[in-house]
């Protein structure tokens, strides 16, 4: 009797392929729903009650955001701290903050920020990664950008820069003037502040090694 070979048998491969395809399909559908839960935005109540969400609610713009090294997780994690004024107010309601973020998100899309910058891992590396731009020490009180734009706060300096980027020599690759209005700039800054509060599992890597990025150290 000739030795039977399972490897050259069609049914073995058909059944194996059906099993792997079916199993992977179930896994991917489950992953989709799991991801939807992970990236759903928190609420104002979550922020007030200290419920940790990967993506905090829009009213996170009322709070100070900093970065802290987590030894357990092996990377920096965003820390939502005490109240902090954003464009002179720390009482942005959920609707107002949401509308501002929405405007900023649309603004970032219509001006095609990703053509040069990276947002949450999407985009280009022609210009700096904006995922944690809000925490960049250059924009803080003793940073260069506030002095350059003649503004006293981080958000005002950012908004001023966004409206007239080509006025301020920042980089060999100068940002072009994109015709961003004052209101759009405000929205984009809110969008950037909110984005910096998203727990990205430490992305971008080594951000904390920038001097001043973690708690001003």
């Amino acid at each position: 009797m000739a030795k039977t070979s399972v490897w050259s048998d069609n049914r073995f491969w058909q059944r194996s392929a059906a099993w792997i395809t079916g199993f992977s399909a179930v896994l991917l559908i489950w992953l989709t729903f799991d991801t939807a839960g992970q990236i759903s935005m928190g609420t104002d109540a979550d922020l007030q009650n200290g419920v940790t969400k990967r993506v905090p609610g829009p009213t996170v713009i009322n709070y100070k955001i900093s970065y802290e090294m987590s030894t357990a997780r092996g990377h920096e994690v965003p820390v939502i701290g005490e109240k902090e004024k954003f464009f002179g107010r720390d009482d942005w309601s959920e609707e107002e903050a949401g509308a501002l973020l929405h405007l900023g998100k649309l603004g970032s899309q219509v001006k095609n920020c990703m053509n040069c910058h990276t947002l949450l891992g999407n985009g280009a590396y022609y210009a700096p990664d904006l995922t944690k731009a809000w925490l960049d020490p250059a924009w803080q009180n003793d940073g260069t950008m506030q002095a350059m734009t003649g503004k006293d706060t981080k958000e005002e300096a950012m908004a001023e820069f966004l409206q007239h980027p080509s006025t301020y020599p920042t980089h060999a690759r100068m940002m072009p003037d994109l015709g961003i209005t004052a209101e759009e700039a405000k929205g984009i800054v809110a969008f950037l502040k909110h984005m910096s509060s998203i727990d990205t599992n430490g992305f971008p890597r080594n951000f904390g090694k920038i001097k001043g990025a973690v708690h001003g150290k």
């Binding site: 000739a2 039977t4 048998d9 049914r11 073995f12 199993f23 940790t52 990967r54 357990a72 997780r73």
Partner: protein, 50 residues
Amino acid sequence: MFEPFTDIVPSFFGWLNQGPLTLTIFLHTFIILPMIWIYKQEKARLEKES
């Protein structure tokens, strides 16, 4: 080899992604082991038919 689960939101997929071994063991369990089982079934069937 196995590291403590530290993700912010507990999730099966977070657990799966804690290290390379967790994923390897998972995929071997759910893909390779059933294939061995299918192999044995098909071998028995072919031997019976021949």
